[in-house]
């Protein structure tokens, strides 16, 4: 297994009720697989998880990207700084 950190920001934090979790995922889990695992854990966040932006180690990541060992993954809505 691969222990990763998952951070939630803004509406994703509201949907999951979490800021930061540690999670064991199978080796070579893609982002889409992580979303499926999280949808099981936070059933009412399923819609939000479909639409979330994702980063891996502080770069944008996409459904097919494989999560590397010990990664810092973050989930958040479209950015709105300025």
């Amino acid at each position: 297994m691969n222990e990763i950190t998952v951070l939630f920001f803004a509406t994703m934090r509201d949907h999951t009720g979490e800021r930061k979790i540690l999670l064991d995922v199978p080796e070579n889990t893609p982002v889409s697989g992580l979303k499926t695992l999280l949808a099981e854990r936070y059933p009412h966040a399923t819609g939000a998880l479909d639409a979330t932006l994702v980063s891996i180690n502080r770069d944008y990541a996409f459904d097919e990207d494989i999560i590397p060992a010990g990664a810092e993954v973050a989930m958040f809505p479209h950015v709105s700084g300025g």
């Binding site: 951070l7 920001f9 803004a10 509406t11 509201d14 932006l53 980063s55 502080r58 770069d59 944008y60 996409f62 973050a74 958040f76 809505p77 479209h78 950015v79 709105s80 700084g81 300025g82």
Partner: protein, 154 residues
């Protein structure tokens, strides 16, 4: 090739434009363009009379600072004449008329891209730098969502 200063940060402190300008002014610098954004208190929207008490800004700070560095790199690639670059986003509880963000670019002359570079900087910051804001008014809070989806490589 001189060392050109690049400043990027997420901060909870008040922005200090004069100090930031001094930090990106070299002896060869003759022109600077700044963009600053402020919290609007009265926002006209759908004919409603909304009133913002304050905005609550948050950031994914290490990624935000990395993406600000990327925006600065993109500016230097497009406008190689740009000398200094400052990109600062303030976070926390920010009230109307408070400057929240600053993009500043300096160059030897005003005709070599400082206006375009600052404009590009604020546009890109609003596309790829992970910062979010929630508008707090008389009826509670509303998250404001941007409309840009970053592509692979951004």
């Amino acid at each position: 090739m001189p060392e050109f200063p690049t400043i990027f940060s997420i901060t909870e402190d008040e922005l200090n434009l004069d100090e930031l300008l001094a930090q990106i002014t070299l002896t060869s610098t003759g022109a600077a363009c700044f963009f600053t954004g402020m919290v609007r208190g009265a926002t006209q929207r759908d004919g409603l009379p909304p009133e913002t008490e304050y905005l609550e800004y948050e950031a994914y700070t290490p990624m935000a600072e990395a993406k600000m560095g990327q925006v600065a790199d993109e500016i230097r690639q497009r406008w190689p004449t740009v000398e200094g670059i400052a990109i600062v986003q303030r976070i926390g509880r920010l009230y109307p008329q408070t400057p929240t963000v600053l993009i500043a670019c300096t160059a030897a002359h005003r005709d070599t891209g400082v206006f375009e570079a600052a404009r590009y900087g604020i546009d890109r910051l609003k596309e790829i730098v992970p910062v979010w804001k929630k508008e707090i008014g008389p009826d509670g809070g509303t998250w404001i969502e941007g409309g840009y989806t970053p592509q692979p490589g951004e």
